[in-house]
Symmetry: C2
Subunit: 334 residues, 2 copies
Amino acid sequence: MEVDEVVHMPRLSRVALCGGTHGNELSGVYLVRELLKMKKANQNEKEGESVSVLKVLSNPRAIKQCCRYIETDLNRCFMQATLNEPGPEVAPYEIIRSQELNHMLGPKGCPEAVDLVCDLHNTTANMGLCLIAYSDCDWICLHILRYLQKQMPDIPVRYIHLDLSPNEAYSLDSVGKHGFAMEIGPQPHGVVRSDIYTAMKAGVQHMLDWVHSFNSGHLFEGGWVEVYTLVKNVDYPRSCETHSITAAVHPELQDQDFCLLHPGDPLFQAFSGETLRYKGHEPLYPFFINECAYYEKGIALSLARKRSVRIPPIQVQTTGEHQEKEWAVKSGEE
Amino acid sequence: MEVDEVVHMPRLSRVALCGGTHGNELSGVYLVRELLKMKKANQNEKEGESVSVLKVLSNPRAIKQCCRYIETDLNRCFMQATLNEPGPEVAPYEIIRSQELNHMLGPKGCPEAVDLVCDLHNTTANMGLCLIAYSDCDWICLHILRYLQKQMPDIPVRYIHLDLSPNEAYSLDSVGKHGFAMEIGPQPHGVVRSDIYTAMKAGVQHMLDWVHSFNSGHLFEGGWVEVYTLVKNVDYPRSCETHSITAAVHPELQDQDFCLLHPGDPLFQAFSGETLRYKGHEPLYPFFINECAYYEKGIALSLARKRSVRIPPIQVQTTGEHQEKEWAVKSGEE
């Protein structure tokens, strides 16, 4: 077996845990509230050892109204150009709020930005737990993925890669040096299911455990992980006149997120009854199948290619030369 | 076996089929739209034989915005007192709309009212198909229940009885001489699932088939049906300070609608982890467990008593004496 060289990466001193970026995705809202309560009760001693965790309720007005957003989707406001737009006084609430959050957790792309943003989301799609990020070579995110997969055998844990540049990256998690959305479903928006809440709570705890372990000097072995890269989105069939949808996701496809979709497979069932089939030429992996919030975005499902990515062993970078030698010795001893 | 006397009831000439009373419960919205399209295409010949079906999109503004309601819950506006309130010019949109619908389908309690209102709804709860009505001795509704149970063996079909007087009855279906809500779930609000849409389409078709058959003189045998009568609603545990919920429905209770809940059974799981148990003294049947729209109404679940109701054989009433004799002869011949 080939032995990869250990990649040393800076410690993750500041983590932001965000909930309610979409105000009706309730697992994150109630989890962040619960953690804020625990913080008040001074029970978060463990994380204090090596990492400071900033808990944020991202869109307080949308949370209060239990809706996705007030004026525009907050989680589409973090492109570099939008963040730099002047004159937020007359801007939609979420544009102003995105700049506040960028000030609090970023600025995006700057050395002052938090080390890791974990933004909590729910989906109505049957996606299990997904980390969604903009890089397929962010070893921190991919090692966390592998750790969650190992620690949470009862729920599928997958990694979705959106192939956009940092400037184009539109979501809150792009403000951190590393970041991902933690997306869990299925759960109706506006509802909190205990099973989904518990899975998110466990996912967050394992993620923080990993960060703590990483900061403490643990060497994480390299290996392979699977990455799903978004290829394209597919809209519902719609009426030319009214733009209203004329079909629902086919019952054979509904809830089959991440099951390979082949050319000719059923895709939609028209309200009149007939079956519409997938006309693509390449088998692809569907996800976000029938996500509630994407009707207005013209997305019935997304399609991805899957590939294996080799991740190197990683270990925290030490700051001084003395410490670096210490690690080298320790490494050699193991 | 005891032979019950046949109850003769007036024919059901006018049926109203309503969707979108809640604008984000999409099965009914798309089904009514589809049937309106078919009507335009002149394909509804069968129903034309004995019954006129008025298809109604109840809350067009809420449908357009894909939300439950604009200003107030339309399906709580049909109490007799509310319908008679003067001065709708300054009233909330749904109050005005309820009076329009009462004018169109009622007036409630009057001879001009339509014979049967079937109002289409979805729930996020795992309730299968339920007919919800205000009477436990409306033989039309209960015979339709039994017919749907027979015709739809793949989905549980149940009858929920809300024990309120006609004046207090608050929902759109109370405007007809007979009426019920047809409630199907689980489906997230704002989403249309093909399986749920297809079940609703089948339920409506069977209901109209039954009406047609009834109007044509078919004698429906008597028998027994089960009726769930609402006893009480149970709210989520809430914070005294913020009124925010502090627990979710317990994972062992989630999705277990109509499974008997015993004293001491798990009811809620607090966000901090602990289990809260059912402290009632009587085993009852839970339903509307974790329904999205009821968070704001302070209802985590409803509890019902189940009992068996004997329904008599029924047949359509003939209008003239001559015809009545004809039926009597026919009856005797069989």
